[in-house]
């Protein structure tokens, strides 16, 4: 059944990237999982933006240490996840971070053989 020279490539995938302050990623991942995301990857990073500088003294409350969360989602779920994450990360407050999503050309990962078989082979 399984062939070594075959990769199952998935299409219609969307990459959601969310940048938040250090320590907030867990809340973001929880919200995304609840909204149907199957996994998330967290990076540590640092960086600041223009909103943070314009907060004045309140700007010190914004940590320059950031967490970047990658979520790959199917394109018809992506909007829902996007919204939930936006709300969970409280991105409507200045300095809290940002979120963006982009269409992926293709992705590949482990796909159970019986699932791959069910969708047939497009050669």
């Amino acid at each position: 059944m399984k062939q070594r020279d075959e990769i199952v490539v998935l299409t219609d995938a969307v990459l959601i990237t969310c940048i938040v302050q250090r320590g907030v990623a867990d809340a973001v991942v929880d919200a995304a999982t609840e909204a149907g995301a199957q996994g998330a990857t967290i990076f540590y990073a640092r960086g600041t933006g223009v909103r943070q500088k314009h907060l004045g003294v309140l700007g010190i409350t914004v940590n320059a240490e950031k967490e970047v969360i990658y979520i790959v989602a199917p394109s018809d779920h992506a909007d829902h996840i996007f919204e939930r994450v936006y709300v969970a990360a409280k991105l409507d407050t200045p300095g809290m971070g940002m979120i963006y999503m982009a269409l992926l050309e293709k992705m590949a990962t482990y796909v159970p053989p019986e699932v791959a078989a069910r969708f047939g082979r497009h050669d």
Partner: protein
């Protein structure tokens, strides 16, 4: 269920679009162009302020909560359960503790934003832009002035009332009439220590040599002072001062400068570059305070003949009353430090100060925090420590009626109290945890973090127990100090360089701004209750305890690796 429930039809799509957050598409090009042209008047919603501030504040407050509450609870519970005495003025003490936590939180944040940016910048740039002499002069001033800003130093000023003026007249004189002289001596001591620490970077002196060269004169002076009955009570205070000085202001400021100098001297690769200054900063002040004591004895032959302090007993002026007095004291402590750093930045480094508002925020918050901390110190920490100290003797002595326990058991309870207090306060110290991580990395895991923490905690616990025993039995300070430090000296000669630096620094790290006043007040309360001449010395014992214990563990680790190596070969 045959009752008809009225049905209303709703299209699922309509429901979804009502529940969902609406999205409106705006081109980023437009927003970007707009943001540049418009003047920035941004009004934050209240919820935004809450979202920004609450996590920031709560993390910092919890940090202090973890340091203060277990210690305070232990003192209170021990007093209630083992000594069967109520905590008096509980509400006031609770309020004071709250002020201590809030004050420390604000103060640490203020130091981080108001002082550290200066210090890092100066430490990095100063060695390249001026001569070594200027760097050393600046280091001296920085060390001295930072001492004034140390939160725990306020506890010293408050300690004078706990000393018996008849049995330790010169000590009483020093604390009540000349506290400024005392603080000045400590400041000069720390300043000199920082200078010697910097010289160490330039000349690559070994820590071992330096420790021995500093310790021997200190011990000699201690012997001289200890043999003079007029000076003997001052030794305890002098060695305690060493533990008080190395706190959350001096250490990071001086380290930032030290790292810059070490880099300029071409030693940035030395992993132990950061160590050493803390050690010196706890030995030099002891020396300086003893010198002040000797000078005082020569100056005032008979303290009993001095007229009483003018103005004592008058009604306090408005600037001596509670909120204003603390604010002024805090300003006096922090303003010189800020001024020094600003001048150095402006004229020695020659750079304008960036981010004025953040630095202004830092300074204001540091002053407020220090004022709050001082307030909490005088109504919370010191009374609590004092009460605990004063009630401990009830365990074994029968001052009013029967003692709670038989004499040996009572002494045991008192010592157990001291051991738990020392151990618990040390294990909870965040600075020690950070040091443990550094040490584990430096020794490639040969000295695990937990081992260091345990070694230091046991050392502090035994040291505090020894100090409590000293006060209870009214032992003389000299043999204890001499014995402890000779033991430390022998261990130093016997150990390798890195363990020497480690052991001597671990003593300075353990004494944080909450532990110091608490233990100081405890000793003074205890001293008064058992009728000892003075209650100093616990902190001094708690300083050499970890030195000895860490050195011993270091020797043990070396023996173990040697034996393991022999077996393999």
């Amino acid at each position: 269920m045959t009752d008809t429930v009225s049905q209303r039809r709703l299209r699922y799509g309509e429901f979804l679009s009502a529940v969902r957050v609406k999205q409106r598409r705006v081109s980023y090009k437009d927003v970007h162009a707009d943001a540049g042209s418009r003047p920035r008047t941004r009004s934050l919603r209240l919820v935004d302020v809450h979202r920004l501030l609450t996590p920031y504040v709560s993390v910092r407050f919890l940090e202090q909560l973890r340091a203060v509450v277990p210690l305070a609870l232990f003192l209170a519970l021990f007093q209630i359960a083992a000594l069967r005495a109520d905590v008096q003025e509980g509400e006031l003490i609770t309020f004071g503790m709250l002020a201590v936590m809030l004050g420390l939180m604000l103060f640490m944040d203020g130091v981080k934003y108001g002082l550290m940016p200066f210090s890092e910048n100066i430490g990095f740039n100063l060695p390249n832009r001026t001569t070594p002499a200027v760097v050393l002069g600046f280091a001296f001033l920085l060390g001295g002035i930072a001492t004034f800003a140390e939160p725990a130093i306020g506890a010293l000023r408050a300690a004078g009332s706990g000393v018996d003026p008849l049995r330790a007249p010169w000590l009483h004189l020093l604390l009540t009439r000349y506290p400024d002289r005392l603080v000045l001596a400590v400041g000069i001591g720390v300043g000199l220590a920082v200078v010697v620490g910097m010289l160490r970077y330039f000349f690559a002196w070994r820590m071992k040599t330096l420790v021995i060269a500093t310790l021997l004169p200190c011990l000699a002076l201690t012997v001289y002072a200890g043999l003079d009955p007029r000076l003997a009570p001052i030794i305890g205070l002098a060695w305690d001062c060493g533990a008080i000085t190395t706190g959350p202001v001096t250490v990071p400021l001086v380290l930032a400068l030290g790292i810059g100098v070490a880099a300029a001297a071409g030693q940035e690769d030395n992993p132990l570059a950061g160590f050493g200054i803390v050690t010196l900063a706890s030995l030099f002040p002891a020396f300086a305070v003893m010198l002040v004591g000797i000078g005082l004895v020569a100056e005032v032959p008979d303290p009993a003949l001095l007229p009483p302090i003018v103005g004592a007993g008058d009604t306090a002026a408005w600037w001596d009353q509670t909120p204003v007095a603390e604010l002024i004291a805090a300003l006096r402590a922090i303003a010189p430090l800020v001024l020094l750093l600003w001048l150095a930045q402006r004229f020695l480094v020659g750079e304008a100060v960036k981010q004025h508002n953040i630095i202004a925020y830092g300074v204001v918050v540091a002053v407020l925090g220090m004022a709050l901390f001082n307030l909490g110190l005088s109504i919370g920490l010191i009374p609590l420590g004092n009460q605990a100290g004063a009630t401990v003797p009830a365990a074994f002595s029968a001052a009013d009626g029967a003692a709670l326990y038989s004499y040996p058991v009572g002494i045991g309870v008192a010592l157990l109290f001291a051991i738990i207090l020392g151990y618990g306060a040390t294990v909870a110290e965040p600075a020690l945890n950070a040091m443990g991580v550094t040490v584990e990395n430096l020794t490639d895991g040969a000295f695990p973090k937990q081992l260091l923490i345990q070694a230091v905690a046991v050392g502090v616990a035994l040291g505090i127990a020894l100090g409590v025993a000293k006060i209870i039995f009214d032992w003389s300070m000299l043999p204890l100090l001499l014995g402890g430090y000779i033991l430390a000296l022998v261990g130093t000669l016997w150990s390798s360089e890195e363990y020497v630096a480690l052991a001597w620094d671990s003593a300075g790290v353990t004494t944080g701004p909450v532990t110091v006043p608490l233990v100081l007040a405890l000793g003074l309360g205890l001293g008064q209750a058992v009728g000892a001449a003075e209650g100093f010395g616990i902190l001094a014992m708690a300083s050499f305890g970890p030195i000895v214990s860490v050195l011993l563990v270091g020797v043990w680790i070396r023996r173990r690796t040697e034996i393991a190596a022999q077996r393999e070969s």
